[in-house]
């Protein structure tokens, strides 16, 4: 892409901040300032959207750590290592020692 093309493309992607802010008032993006929220509250109050049942109770307990995700990470890394030539079997349930015994 030439410098001219890139400059033209950057210009194409421009939009005024006023327009950006106004779009939030109409719900095109999530309102993130006091005037935007004030405008949104008006149409939210008139909205007939049905609240899904899943929102009837408060969300469950927050868990501070993710042992499952960490464990998944190490299991994946271990499998990658083994597939790199160290394992003598394609069967994850059979160790190298099992194979050597045969």
């Amino acid at each position: 892409m030439s410098k001219h093309d890139r400059a033209a493309r950057d210009k194409e992607d421009r939009m005024s901040p006023e327009l950006y802010r106004e779009l939030a008032k109409d719900g095109w993006r999530l309102p993130q300032s006091e005037p935007e929220v004030k405008a949104a509250e008006t149409w939210v109050a008139k909205s007939s959207d049905r609240l899904p049942e899943r929102l009837d109770t408060t969300p469950g307990e927050v868990r501070p750590q993710e042992p499952g995700r960490l464990l998944d990470h190490y299991v994946r890394a271990d499998r990658l290592d083994r597939s790199g030539g160290e394992s003598k079997s394609m069967d994850d349930n059979r160790s190298n020692r099992d194979i050597e015994r045969e």
Binding site: L23, Q32, A40
Partner: protein, 264 residues
């Protein structure tokens, strides 16, 4: 001035926050709304202050969180549905709402100091306090939506990003000085094709107020385009046409100086 952060690990240790888009939480015992003490008389700043005490008074913190959720789940769901519902579907939108409140609870516990929260909102009236907290929840939801399409999808935004969001929301204009007419804007928006509207709507979280332009990284643009079943170039062209049409309409109405070149 907007200080709430203490920049030290929370009571759960130094682990980073779990990514919200990858089912990072377990479902624990659920609390039926209405089972807590009466918190209806206190404002959102006090609810945040109590949520910040979760390491020392967990039940009170959870009760405050439940009250915040009860008051504003409908607002967050309706605005999230309107912004992203066509891309996420109802289930995806509900996930976004739930993760937004979870992230708010977690962030309050790690980054907020109760007295600072109270001091920050001390001079606000109750409506203003509520709207600023809702604006913050909107910023969290937008961050979570963007996380779904990040180049390093699977890794959540760093907690510092949420701190930036908090500061940015608090720094937004407090008064409505917009020169635009919402009625004209709605007319202009109604003139867009569905394809143009989708391209603009899905791109808005990547608008950069500093550069006044869209900054969608290549990988994210590819994923957003795939969401709409088009190419990244088609996404860019449709977004460009949408902005051009809106600015032309508002320009003709005398509200804005059109900044876009006519699309080829």
């Amino acid at each position: 001035m907007f200080l709430l952060a203490r920049f030290i690990p929370g009571p759960s240790g130094g682990d980073g926050p779990p990514p919200c888009h990858a089912s990072p939480y377990v479902e624990g015992p659920k609390t039926k709304i209405g089972e807590h003490m009466d918190l209806t008389a206190i404002d959102e700043a006090e609810l945040l202050a109590r949520m910040a005490l979760q390491a020392h008074a967990r039940e009170d913190a959870r009760a405050a969180w439940a009250e915040l959720y009860e008051r504003h789940r409908r607002y967050v769901f309706v605005v999230a549905s309107r912004s992203y519902g066509s891309f996420l579907g109802e289930d995806g939108t509900v996930d976004l709402v739930v993760d937004t409140f979870r992230r708010a609870y977690e962030w309050a516990g790690r980054q907020m100091l109760p007295d600072q929260v109270r001091a920050q909102f001390a001079s606000e009236n109750r409506d203003s306090t509520r709207r600023r907290v809702l604006a913050w929840l909107g910023a969290i939801a937008q961050r979570l939506f963007k996380d779904k399409y990040r180049d390093d999808a699977g890794e959540a935004a760093e907690f510092d990003a949420y701190l930036d969001d908090w500061r940015r929301v608090q720094a937004q204009p407090r008064d409505d000085n917009s020169p635009l007419g919402l009625e004209h804007l709605q007319t202009a928006l109604a003139s867009l094709s569905a394809a143009e509207a989708d391209a603009l709507r899905v791109s808005l979280p990547w608008y950069d107020l500093d550069t006044r332009s869209f900054a969608v990284p290549k990988g994210e643009a590819t994923r957003l385009a795939a969401l709409l079943g088009i190419t990244p170039e088609a996404l860019r062209q449709r977004r460009h046409r949408a902005i051009y049409r809106i600015e032309q309409h508002l320009g003709n109405a005398g509200y804005i100086a059109a900044g876009q070149e006519e699309p080829a």
